[in-house]
Amino acid sequence: MQTDFGLLQTALLVATSLAATLIVPMMASNPSHAQSVTLRSSDGSVTVSGPLIRFDGNAYTIKSGANGQLSFQVSDFSCISESCPGPNAFGIHGSNTIGAELMPRLIEAYAQSRGERAKISSGTSAEVAEIKVLGGDGKNRATIDLQSHGSGTAAPGLASGRAVIGMASRALNAAELLQLTQEGLGDMRSPENEHVVGLDGIVVIVSPRNPVAKLSLQQLQAIFSGAVSDWSQVGGTPGPINVYARDAKSGTFDTFKTLVLDPGKQKLLSSAQRLESSNELSDMVANDPNSIGFIGFAYLRNAKPVSLVNECGMSFTPSTFDVKTEEYPLSRRLFLYSGKLPANSFAAGLLDFSMSLDAQAIVRDSGFIDHELQLQSVRQLGRIADAQSVKQKGGIGDPFVTLAREIQETSRISATMRFRYNSIELDNKALKDIDILAQFLQFMRETQSGSRLLLVGFTDSVGALDKNIALSLERANAVRLALLRKLRNPQYARLIETRGYGPALAVACNESEAGRDKNRRVEVWIRQ
């Protein structure tokens, strides 16, 4: 067997010293959740035993002493005890929104694409399942421990090695990113590690027997914090408001808290009924005419969705297009996170498949919003009126004149590019949109449709108008450059024009950071 001699030598040196000094302490400190394993070097000269705390397909990490840990590459060490993890036994932990239905469907479809089949076994609760992937010969190809206890369990699962894929219905927070970096999993925000599998909107729900159809974000804040406790205070039939919310580990709750409660520095009403399951929450709200709750798009089930009115009076009915553009006030991304996975492992294949076009149909069938492009022309005409309700700083009279003309001649495509904070670097969803837009341009060229794309940049209202117009054009040009790099053919250049309209056509209120963030974008319009 060929090995990297330097690497092996280092490992052997460490392991040799371990053999003499650390095996007994390691065994003694075996935590209850960790199985003890025995590793043997490829030349058979070194044997190491200890509690296995992580196996990611590349390396075994075993506990050393009270707080230490040591990693052994699979290329240099074999696991020889009965308790060794199978080569394709791994965990997927995190979001209940993703894990309850979407992830099992993705696993089934991926297995099918390999000519295999998935067998789902019910776990000890609705949030736990074991999925075995079986080959045509009936032999086990992979065993997946799927645990959907909430987005807050994704990072701990990855850090402990019990999961190699983390599911989250919100981006990992700073503390989680730091923890995973310290565990050696790398920068989780990088395109290699952070994957936007689909989009979602948090839908505020009531019972179909509740006449309330529209609520403002301020009213929601008051209801969920307990400041308003009777439906008559928000235009409903008099009666106490029963508040339901997902549990504290939930990404759905985190997103709702960030977008609705935090701006008013409010906390969730302590008497709110908290639930781990989105399905259960939705059904409880559907059955209680005095209740209110919130869930992801896919969990509407038998409840009634409520339209939302933002701080500056813009009204949003939950719709696919508004979630695709991320302009729906409670829109969010659904993430899969992973460290580096072995190239030919089932987990790596599953992750690749989850990001493929084939998987997008499954995302859609599961009730979430996929990345596919959607065209909108009717509402495009009404956008100027909508945007005029948003307070603008510095006056935007002139840009509107040109804008009004172009808006009448174009349709809007749902792909809407946003950037990393304070930069012109495209974020991970925008990178995915670039791939899809490039395919769309190829189709346009092949079919000689005669259409052209307009990449239209916008900013928030902070700063001088001329600077914002220049910045918005710079961002549109950055998107154009990324597209042309992807297409590698200069002939596409004539099909893509750019514009910069600064703070015009605001899609959210500029008073809040979340609103300003939505306004900093590049839209894609098509001129037929």
Binding site: I120, S121, S122, L134, D283, A298, N302, Q374, L375
Partner: protein, 280 residues
């Protein structure tokens, strides 16, 4: 308890393991072909009536796709049984103990206005399929299961009264069948059905809301596990199937005796979210 299951059950294996000694036909005059009457029934079912005086007490093996059904003639040589067409339009083959067989009885009774969800298992365990119509609570009128099956007529009257799609348990099983055990929920789609969802679940056949000793695992022994196949025939045409394993829930789970992640829910009507009224 672990019960070994034959995922595909060839009739010969089943006959060898499950039936009493068979009658020998050696030296007796050949038995005439049975008379077979097949009637289509509303709700996507076929009613079989067989008569064969020379086959008293004998078994008949039916094959419908990969499903094996075993029924026995009574002491007068009569046999009546229903077949639920949950696999859609497939042939049904009947084989008798003297190897006489008949085929080409197409199960074409399913219609576009019907959706069927079936669970099929072979272990001698009483599983119940539940359909919670529109967020119905366990044990309520619209929790359809073997304990509250409803009928084609009740589904139709609810359908007429509420303008919503309703259904009934068209086949139930106590888990003691010689062939496959089958439970089928049949949904009658209302043409103008509003959006809604019918959640499906599987439980052990204890018709109470709280898990009993026989329907849960108390940790003192290995959890009961049962292999099953799930079939969903949407609008009488598109068939999907899933391989699943039912594992009994812990005894302290209370309402969690319902296993909800094995059988897909039925979504009816048009979704007001997820769609886009503004799009071209």
């Amino acid at each position: 308890m672990r019960v070994q299951v034959l995922s595909v059950c060839p009739a010969v294996i089943l006959l060898a393991t499950l039936t009493p000694p068979l009658l020998s036909h050696a030296g007796v005059p050949p038995c005439a072909a049975p008379t077979i009457e097949i009637a289509f029934q509303a709700g996507g079912q076929l009613q079989f009536r067989l008569q064969s005086p020379c086959r008293k007490g004998e078994l008949v093996v039916g094959r419908y796709g990969e499903i094996v059904i075993m029924e026995r003639f009574d002491g007068s040589g009569n046999l009546a049984f229903q077949l639920d067409c949950f696999l859609g339009n497939r042939e049904i083959d009947l084989t008798f103990m003297d190897n006489w067989h008949t085929t080409n009885h197409a199960c074409s009774a399913t219609e576009r206005a019907i959706t069927k969800v079936a669970i099929v298992w072979h272990d001698r365990v009483d599983l119940d399929l539940h359909a919670f119509e529109y967020a119905a609570s366990p044990g309520s009128d619209h929790d359809r299961s073997a304990a509250n099956p409803g009928s084609y007529q009740t589904a139709q009257s609810e359908y007429a009264r509420s303008s919503r799609s309703h259904g009934f348990m068209s086949t139930v099983s106590d888990g003691q069948q010689l062939g496959h055990n089958i439970e089928v929920y049949t949904l009658l789609h209302h043409p103008a059905e509003p959006r809604g969802l019918i959640a499906m679940a599987v439980s052990l056949g204890s018709h109470n809301n709280v898990a009993g000793r026989e329907s849960c695992s108390n940790g003192r022994q290995e959890r009961l596990r049962v292999d099953l196949n799930v079939y969903v025939l949407e609008h009488g045409t598109k068939l999907r199937s899933y391989e699943r394993e039912f594992a009994a829930q812990p005894c302290d789970g209370g309402p969690t005796r319902f296993v909800t992640n094995l059988v897909p829910s039925i979504v009816v009507g048009n979704a007001p979210v997820g769609g886009n009224a503004n799009a071209d």
